[in-house]
């Protein structure tokens, strides 16, 4: 394996973590909730792709559209049904609810689809392209480009649009945002929709890389993306991307050294180091307690 291939693998894996981490960080940024069900939304997205392509025999393009749409709807629905009624409840209640939603989705999927892995068909027929005599994984290149585009679009949306600014206002001071005439519930729904759409895109990219869907696939993926978000500084969009790439590189690097049994451990070791050295994460701001 050449260095270039490994670099590409790291970027590919890191990009997927980054997309998922973005969803964690956005939801945390606005309602201070660690949405533990976020990883499971990706699992549902992978199953949607499997149904569309393997069961219904329809086109990969349709699978992409339906996976992203399905995840978006699911994310908003989870917020409306499970989290919105607890908006004024203590944070611990809503955190426990998130864990409950996560178990519900995992066990629901197991009930409906069974515990065995389903094979998600390939989205694209050619798997490699040759660049200057080196053959590179097309999946990896697509993943990296899609993630880069999503990150830039998201950053523009949050920084420049009226709705994006409303999201920032709500995340800073929900009460003051209300006094501006901002509909806080709509803004929170929009945040869930955005984060879950990214999870949907992540689901497609993950299925492209690993070609299978299992009811528990979201657990490790979600946990690592959560680590990525914390590494980068939870609440920060660029931080989530940096954290995601770091986690991806760390895993690939350790695997390349022949220590692949340690790849999960290394990710969590990285988390421990960052939490000891800089508890707010790489780009995290010190939180001011609201008086």
């Amino acid at each position: 394996m050449t260095f270039l291939t490994q670099l590409l693998n790291g970027l590919q894996l890191g990009s997927i973590y980054a997309l998922v981490a973005l969803g964690y960080t956005m939801v945390y940024g606005i309602i201070l909730l660690l949405n533990f069900a976020h990883g499971d939304i990706i699992m549902v997205g992978a199953y949607i792709s499997w149904i569309v392509m393997a069961k219904l025999g329809m086109s990969p393009a349709l699978a992409v559209v339906l996976s992203v749409a399905g995840c978006t709807l699911l994310g908003v629905l989870i917020d409306k049904v499970a989290y919105a009624p607890l908006r004024n409840a203590p944070r611990l209640s809503i955190l426990i609810t998130a864990i409950g939603v996560s178990y519900f989705l995992e066990n629901g999927a197991q009930l409906v689809f069974g515990a065995d892995a389903k094979v998600v068909p390939a989205f694209i027929s050619t798997s490699t392209i040759k660049v200057g005599g080196v053959s590179l994984s097309l999946n990896a290149i697509i993943t990296i480009i899609v993630t880069a585009v999503c990150t830039v679009v998201l950053q523009l949306l949050v920084q420049k649009t009226k709705l994006g600014k409303a999201m920032r206002a709500v995340s800073e001071d929900m009460g003051a945002a209300r006094l501006m005439g901002i509909n806080v519930n709509t803004t929170i729904s929009f945040t869930f929709a955005l984060g879950s759409a990214l999870a949907g895109i992540g689901a497609v990219l993950y299925s492209m890389a690993y070609s299978q869907a299992t009811p528990t696939m979201g657990i490790m993926l979600g946990t690592k993306a959560f680590v990525a978000a914390v590494l980068g500084g939870i609440g920060s969009i660029p931080g989530a991307v940096i954290g995601g790439l770091l986690v991806g590189f760390a895993e690939v690097f350790v695997s390349a050294l022949g220590l692949s049994v340690w790849k999960d451990a290394v990710v969590f070791l990285l988390l421990i180091i960052v939490l000891v050295v800089k508890p707010t994460g790489i780009l995290g701001r010190t939180m001011n307690e609201k008086v």
């Binding site: 600014k165 920032r168 206002a169 001071d173 209300r178 006094l179 501006m180 005439g181 901002i182």
Partner: protein, 235 residues
């Protein structure tokens, strides 16, 4: 018809009854002030009118329309803005973005116009438009909070403790601005601990004591009332 009419308003936080049956009116073009000690229910009254807190009972009518049960973000659309206690500017957003949030319920073309008016009124804000609000001084933050509230083009502007924590010279400046705004047609409901300043610019005032109104009169009457002087004006 009064612009705002509050009748027999009761508000509680759990078991604590913060407001116990207060009634007052504000006519178009007036400056009305609610004064009283800490915990008298002044801020609660404003927050209830703004739709942030739900009343137990009583009526709140703005331009003849009931506001009870109307969501806070809809109340802003109707022309009623609250500039909250402690300013609560969005400290990580720029001055310009804060003002844009203030005009959230208005169209872009309306906002472009109002923004000019606000920048004329507060030239300091224009100078600092690209600075994040957290880097402003206390006085500038108060101006930003007021400018932000004005962006929604309110007919009635409610100000909660606008002078809190400001140097005396700035307090004077803020009160001058309030009078100016009123002269240009904005009706003002002012809540203040600085009772003498508030009464000196107010047409009328209400004295709140533990959840009910104990006295009412013109600003000048209350300013010279013996009980009010003893209790709130230090003399």
């Amino acid at each position: 018809m009064a612009l705002l009419s509050v009748k027999d308003l009761h508000v509680s936080y759990g078991a604590i009854k913060a407001v116990q049956g207060i009634s007052f009116d504000i006519e178009q073009g007036e400056i009305v002030t609610l004064i009283g000690a800490n915990g008298a229910g002044k801020s609660t009254t404003l927050n209830t009118i703004a739709g942030i807190v739900k009343p137990d009972s009583g009526s709140i009518e703005f331009k003849g329309e009931s506001l009870v049960g109307v969501k806070a973000h809809k109340i802003v659309e109707k022309g009623l803005a609250l500039c909250p206690e402690g300013r609560r500017v969005f400290s990580q957003m720029t001055v310009a973005e804060n003002l844009q949030m203030g005009g959230y319920t208005r169209t872009d073309s309306e906002n472009a116009e109002t923004l000019q008016v606000v920048y004329e009124r507060f030239p300091r804000l224009k100078e600092r438009m690209n600075q994040t609000a957290g880097t402003l001084s206390g006085g500038e933050q108060q101006m930003l909070a007021m400018g932000r509230a004005l962006m929604s083009k309110p007919e009635l502007l409610m100000l909660d403790e606008p002078s809190m924590g400001l140097a005396p010279i700035l307090v004077q400046e803020i009160f001058d601005i309030i009078e100016e705004l009123n002269k240009q047609g904005t009706t003002i409901l002012l809540v203040e601990q600085n009772a003498s300043m508030a009464l000196s610019i107010a047409n009328r005032g209400y004295v709140l004591e533990v959840g009910h109104i104990s006295k009412t009169g013109t600003g000048q009457d209350l300013l010279h009332d013996d009980d009010v002087r003893k209790a709130y004006l230090g003399g």
